[in-house]
C-alpha cells in the first residue's frame, strides 16, 4: 500500500557510510558530481568507477536495492543515450535515412551514459544511508552562515523534515479522496485535456483543505510542546566530525587528485 513507500528510500544499516556525518556525505556527493563531470575519457571513467565501487561497498547497500530505486531514472538515461548515439564522428557503423551510428558516437555515448549513471547512484547512496532528518540537519549546518543574512535556515530545515513526514500521509489521503469522488461518479479519464484537469478539482480542493487543517493542528501541537523556532534548540544527535569523516575526506581528496592527474596525463 502507498503508506509503505518511504521518501528518500532510507536503507536501514550501520555501515561506515551510514555513520558518517551528513555534512560529509553532502560534500562527497557534490564534489563527486562535479568530478564525474570532468571524467570524459575512458581511463577517467574507470577511475570514477573505482571511486563509486568503494563508496557503494562501504555503504553496504545491496546493488539490488540501488537498482530498484533507479526505476524512474532509467527512462531519462536511455533518452539521453539515444540522442547522443546519433551524434558523432568517426567510422560509420550503421546508418538509416539521415541517422548514423559512428564509432565516435558509440564511444561518447558509452562514457556519457556511465557518467550520468554514476552521478545518480552516487547521490542515491547519500539518501540511502542518511535519515531525512539527519540530511536536513546537515543542510541546516552547511547553510547556517546564511543566518547572518536573516535567512531562517533552521526553520526551513524544520519545514523540509515536516514535509518529508507528511508526504506519505498526504499520498494516502489523495488515494482515499480519489476513491470517494470516483464513488460519486467522477471520471478522470474522459474528455479532452481541459476536461481532465477540471475533473481533478474535486480531488485537489479536499486535499488542499486537509493539508491546511493538518498544518493548523500540527502548529498547535508544536506550540504545545514549546517550539519557538531554531533559537536555543538543541539536537538529539548533534553533528560532530569523527575520525571516520577525516578518513572519508581523505579518500575524497585522493579521488580528486586522481581525476586532476588523469585530466593532465590523458588529455
Amino acid at each position: 500500500m502507498i503508506k509503505d513507500m518511504t521518501i528518500g528510500q532510507y536503507y536501514e544499516g550501520n555501515s561506515p557510510v551510514h555513520r558518517l556525518d551528513p555534512r560529509t556525505k553532502l560534500i562527497i556527493t557534490i564534489i563527486y558530481a562535479i568530478l564525474v563531470f570532468f571524467c570524459t575519457t575512458l581511463p577517467l571513467v574507470i577511475w570514477a568507477t573505482v571511486g563509486l565501487v568503494v563508496y557503494v561497498l562501504m555503504s553496504r547497500v545491496p546493488l539490488r536495492h540501488i537498482f530498484r530505486g533507479l526505476k524512474f531514472v532509467w527512462f531519462f538515461v536511455i533518452v539521453t543515450a539515444v540522442v547522443s548515439l546519433f551524434n558523432g564522428d568517426g567510422e560509420v557503423l550503421w546508418s538509416w535515412w539521415k541517422l548514423s551510428v559512428t564509432t565516435g558516437g558509440l564511444y561518447r555515448t558509452g562514457i556519457l551514459t556511465m557518467r550520468l549513471f554514476y552521478l545518480i547512484v552516487g547521490s542515491s547512496i547519500m539518501t540511502y544511508t542518511t535519515m531525512p532528518l539527519r540530511l536536513t540537519d546537515g543542510l541546516e549546518r552547511i547553510f547556517s552562515f546564511l543566518k547572518v543574512f536573516r535567512v531562517p535556515v533552521s526553520e526551513m530545515a524544520m519545514m523540509i523534515s515536516i514535509a518529508l513526514r507528511f508526504i506519505p500521509i498526504l499520498m494516502e489521503e489523495l488515494d482515499k479522496i480519489i476513491k470517494a469522488q470516483t464513488s460519486r461518479g467522477a471520471d478522470f479519464e474522459a474528455g479532452n485535456v481541459f476536461k481532465r484537469i477540471k475533473a481533478y478539482v474535486p480531488v485537489l480542493v479536499p486535499l488542499f483543505a486537509s493539508s491546511i487543517r493538518r498544518a493548523t493542528e500540527l502548529a498547535e501541537a508544536m506550540d504545545a510542546r514549546c517550539y519557538q523556532g531554531g533559537e536555543g534548540r538543541t539536537k538529539l544527535v548533534p553533528l560532530e566530525y569523527t575520525y571516520r569523516d577525516v578518513v572519508a575526506y581523505g579518500c575524497l581528496a585522493v579521488f580528486a587528485v586522481g581525476v586532476i592527474l588523469g585530466r593532465t596525463v590523458f588529455m
Partner: protein, 611 residues
Amino acid sequence: MSYISTEDLTHEFNIRDATGNIMAKKRACDGVNVHVEKGAFVAILGRNGSGKSTFARHLNGLLMATEGSVYIADEKVEDKNLIDIRRKLGMVFQNPDNQIVGNSVKEDVAFGLENLGLPSKEIWARIYETLKITGMGAYIDRNVARLSGGQKQRLAITSVCAMKPETIVLDEATSMLDPEASKNILDSVLELNKKYGITIIMITHRIEEAVLADYIYVMGAGKVRLEGVTGHVITRVKELEALGLEAPLYEKIKYELGFTGNDKELISYIKEKAGRSSSEEAGSSRKNQIEDNDGRIVNLSYESDVDKEDNLISETNIDRKNDKPISEKDISRKDDILIWAKDVRYIYNNGDSTLQAVKGVSFQIKKGEIVAIAGHTGSGKTTLIQMFNGLLRPTSGELVVAGTDIAKVKDLKQLRKGIGYVFQYPEYQLFEASVLKDVKYGPVNFGFSEQEADGLARDALKLVSIGEEMYEMSPFDLSGGQKKRVALAGILAYKPELLILDEPVAGLDPESKRELFALIRRLNREEGTTIIFVSHDMKDVYEMAPRTIVLNEGEIAYDGDTGEMFRNDKLVRANHLAVPELVSFKQKLEPEIDIRENTIAGVVEKLKEHL
C-alpha cells in the same frame, strides 16, 4: 486556590460572512469555572461543539480568554510565561498524525526536549526512561509511518511525558482509535495518574472514558451544566441525555426501573423479582435449554426462533454449502440477491512485496439486508467493501454486484450510480463552494439534468435535516456533524439501492450517532436500501445489524446472526470482538429471564413487563 483553576473563562469567536465582515459573535466558552487539584483525574464531558476543546486550549495558552482567567500553580496564564506553563502542562490531541513531528519514534520524543534546550545526553536518557514507562521501548528506531494509530497516539503521550509535565490534558485523544487501542491508551493514562501522580484532564464525549475520572464536569453550549464526583454524575441519566450524551448502561436500567443499589444488586433484584412474578414463563423456556459439556446453558428456544425469523440468513448459508457456481443467468433469476461473491481474492502489489488482503471469500447479500462487517484492524474489511463498487477489482474470483461482474465490466459508472459509498471522513469529498452544489455533484456526474439534480439534492438535504438556510453556505464552514450529514446527502441524492458505510459513526457523539442510525434504519425500512457497514464498535453492530460477517486475516471467520456471534466465546476472543455490555447484561439474567431485544430501550421495556 486549586492547582488549576479557571475563573469565568469566556471565549468569543467572530462569525464572518463570505466577504469577511463580522456578522455575529459566538461564545464557545461562556463563564466556565473549573477547579482541579494536584494529582487528580478530571474528565470534561460534552458533545461535539459543546466548547470543551476550546476550553482545553486555554489551559496552555493556545487560546487566550476573551474574559476571565486561568491559573496554573498560582501562576496566571499569560503571553509572557507560556513556555513555563507549557512545560508544566502537556497536551495530547485528537489526530495522531497531526501531532507527531519526528520521522522516527526517538526523533519525535526528542522534539520537545530539543525545544527546551536540553543537552543531547539528557535527551537520550529521557527517551529511554519514558519509552520504558509507556511500553514503547521496542519501537525506539521505528519509522512513524509504520506505526498503527494506537501506537502513534501512545507515542504522542510518550513525547509529552518526556517533558516531565505535572499535568497532561487529553483532548479527545482516543476518538480516532479502535476500541482495543483506546483501552490500551486509557490504561496507560490511568497508570500515569495513579503511579506517577500526574494530574489528568481528559476531554471526551464518551461516558465509558469519563467514568475513569474521579470528578466530571459536563459541558453544554459553552457552559458547565453538571459537575460532581463520578459516581454522582453518571446517575443523572436524563440530564446527560438532554446534553446529547449517554449514561452508562447499568445506570440507565437502574433509572428506568427506579432501582437504587449497585450493579450486582441490580442483577439479583431483577432475577429474584422476575423469577417470582413469571415463574411459569421462565419454566417453559427452561424446558428448551440443555447444558453443554462445560455446564454452560445452551438456549435452544433462542436458536430455533432465530432460524425461523431469519430464514434469509440460513438460506444464504445453504447456498454457500452447495458451493455451486451460479451462472449469470441464474443470478438474473435470483433477483433478490444483490451481492454474490465466490472465492474473491485481492492482492496488493507494491512492486517488491505483495499482500493478500482478502483470501478467497464467498458469501451472498440479499436486497434489503443490513449487514455489519467486523474484524480487527488489517483484517481486510476496507479492501472487501471497496470491491463492491469497483474501487478495487478482485484479483481473482467472481464478484457480481447488482448484476454487474466487477472483474469483467469495464465501465463501472452505471454500477456506481446504484451504490453509495460513504467514507469515514466527510472531508474526503466536500469541495464545492456551496452545500447545495456539493450535493448536486454526484447526480450531475451520473447524468441527471441540472434541474433534476437540484431537486434530488434538496430532497437529500431534507432527509439529513440540513435546513435551507445552509444551502448556500460553504461546506467548509459547517460543524463536524453537519459536514458528515452533507457528505451523506451527497451520496443519498442519487438514490443508491446499496449503501456502504465505512465506520459511519466513529468520532460522533451519542446524540449525532442516534440520529444517523435512525436515518439509516429509515432508509432501509422505507426505501428498501441495502446497508453494509464496517464498524469497530460492537455495540453498534449489535444494535444495527441482524447479520454480521467477521473477517480475520482476509478470511471469513463468521457469517451469520449477530446475537449468536456474541455467544460464541471462542470466536469472540479469536477476533478481538468486544462483547457489548448489553449482551453480557442479558447473559447475566439468564436463564431466569431471556430477552431477545437488542436495544437498551427494548430491554428496559421487557424488564418492566417482567417485574
